[in-house]
Amino acid sequence: MTVEKQDIKEDFYQGDYKAIEVSVFADKQLTQVKNLTGAESIDWALTHRKDGTIYIQKSTFDGDTSIEITDAANGKVIVYLRPVDTASIYGTFRHQMQITDVNGKPECVMTGTVNIFRSYARRLVRGPVSAYLVGG
């Protein structure tokens, strides 16, 4: 069952680090949580509101630690947005979450919108390179 209009209500800014906790429901009335025990994978995507361009994808199947089931029995999932995920995008987007259950059956369980505000503030970034020398 796909539960529509599961909008991420907390607006935030591009380049922010965000831990977005969502509850996956088995019914449109939001009375019954979906048990995620044994799920093979959780997949989440952020797309353009109209043309479906994919900006962010996360999947537990890839070993991506930026999405995880935190309470399988109660259908709780956290999606971690790293600064690099949203540093170059802002506006209103759509998000989707798909679950592949313990029997290998995929299902889109939720869709909704998310607002990302443009950031005019300064952002700190770092980059390293390896060096070496030998004293003799």
Partner: protein, 200 residues
Amino acid sequence: MATFDWLVYVDTPAWESVGANTIVFCGSLTDIDVPITVGSDWNTGTHIGNGDPGADQCGAAHIPNIAYVSGTQFSHDGAATETLGDGTLLATECTLAVEFTDDASVAITSGRFYCFDSTTETTEATGVEAWAFEAQVAETEWSTVCDDSGDIGGDNAGERLDLVDRSASQTHTYYIAVSARPESVGAKGDFDFGVALTYS
């Protein structure tokens, strides 16, 4: 998306990405395996190796070697001493270049180049002494970026090379000369360089 690329002027020669290789300071213009004599010598050669040091990846031309002589002087590839300046130390004679790019046109502030122990950005490299200089921005003096015995180095104010602010552009390139030497005998692998900056 904002990205860094570390570049060296080698082979053809041309600017090429360091990638997963290592910048190696050694005691020879041509042989990556020669150690630097402890006590007085600064780097006599600079190369990129595919390990510590691994095999030389420079190709036909090695990284230009810039050695510290004094606070305002350097030697390029063992030649006579020169005074630091835009007319004497060219971009293509620098140890490395750092290229920062973003999808948007962004201004850069608070840029700095530092030397750390590969683990903690605010901790200096182990057993290393190093100086750095940003070329082609009207600078005239070396900046100390590592002195392990003096507890100097890492991304700390006064212990790093502060880079000149840049106005808005999608690409920013910093040309940096580095001179290094060991404080003791042995391999110095707890030794990385880093760049940090803010953009908007």
